[in-house]
């Protein structure tokens, strides 16, 4: 009887250990936004809806590009700093909207396959972009060009991201 109790307790302990291990691996309670299920996938959307999402992503990126150019001119002193706050606000708004736009799994546009095959990692990059752009926007609210310039490199990792995740321009 004692041997049965020991074996039973041992089995129970092993099972409990396995359950705890599986629970940890599932990451329950550690869900980050990028690990949550995508809002929609291409399979559930019509081509028209998918094209609409792709176009929206493209427009957001174009807006960021325009704002980045404006910000560059302000930082270089070739444009007056009056639009500093407005421009940095626009960048962070577009960055946050881009995160949501790319959360939906809709291949197309110039997005490389890696955007979707490494979706969680890609979204983490986008979320970091949005966080850093937010810090830059807060600096922009103060009107301090130097403070914004100091944050620009980290807040605008456009080239690194594009090299990894954006395909070449269509001919």
């Amino acid at each position: 009887m004692t041997k049965l109790r020991v074996r039973g307790s041992g089995a129970l302990a092993i099972f409990a250990g396995f359950a705890a291990f599986a629970w940890h691996q599932a990451g329950i309670g550690e869900v980050t936004p990028s690990a949550s299920a995508p809002a929609a996938s291409a399979a559930a959307l019509s081509k028209e809806e998918a094209d609409g999402i792709i176009f929206e992503r493209q427009q957001l990126m174009l807006q960021i590009d325009r704002d980045a150019k404006t910000l560059g001119m302000i930082a270089a002193g070739t444009a007056p700093p009056m639009k500093l706050a407005e421009t940095t606000r626009s960048i962070v708004t577009a960055a946050k909207d881009s995160v949501e736009a790319f959360r939906q799994v809709v291949p197309g546009g110039r997005s490389k396959p890696e955007v979707w095959s490494q979706h969680a990692e890609f979204l983490q990059s986008m979320e970091a972009f949005a966080r850093n752009a937010d810090a830059m926007a807060k600096a922009g609210e103060t009107g301090n060009v130097s403070a914004v310039t100091g944050l620009m490199v980290e807040a605008m990792p456009c080239r690194q991201c594009h090299e990894r995740y954006r395909g070449s321009k269509p001919s």
């Binding site: 028209e48 094209d51 609409g52 999402i53 929206e56």
Partner: protein, 150 residues
């Protein structure tokens, strides 16, 4: 002299000015029109994301888009393409595949008119879907007839 005397000369001068518009003028005007259209589309998306389905801003944006869709047919006179040597995102295909381009313009005009009606209804789901469809019609034309940005 009577005021009515001046009507004909003014009309002739206006016509002459229109005829005399250079490709650069036409392209500059076209770019300005598309930028305004892009701003209206941005307002649409921003307002929809913010949940302002019954907001005046959304109705105004939809009206601007619809007006642009009606006016766009006059934005592409012959000679205002790449051959003008003036910087333009308009591809030569607009003129070499004119029937297809016209079909794309018609699709956009239909979608824009429908979207204005949808916005007037205030129906949230229809507005969300309509905004996507509008974007899709823009993309369809851009993919074939517009030089990609950067």
């Amino acid at each position: 002299m009577r005021r009515s005397f001046w009507i004909v000369p003014i009309l002739l001068m206006t016509a002459a000015a229109a005829i005399a518009a250079t490709p650069a003028d036409t392209i500059r005007s076209r770019i300005a029109n598309y930028r305004a259209l892009g701003a209206a589309f941005k307002t649409t998306n921003d307002t929809v994301r913010a949940g302002g389905f019954r907001s005046p801003a959304l109705r105004q944006a939809a009206a601007r888009i619809s007006a642009a869709a009606r006016n766009q047919y006059a934005w592409y006179p012959a000679g205002s393409g790449p051959q003008s040597r003036v910087r333009t995102a308009a591809k030569a295909e607009i003129w070499t595949r004119a029937h297809e381009f016209r079909a794309a313009q018609d699709a956009f005009a239909r979608q824009a008119t429908a979207f204005e009606r949808i916005v007037a209804s205030g129906n949230e789901a229809a507005i969300r879907a309509g905004a996507r469809q509008l974007g899709a019609s823009c993309k369809g034309c851009h993919d074939s007839f517009r030089v990609a940005d950067d």
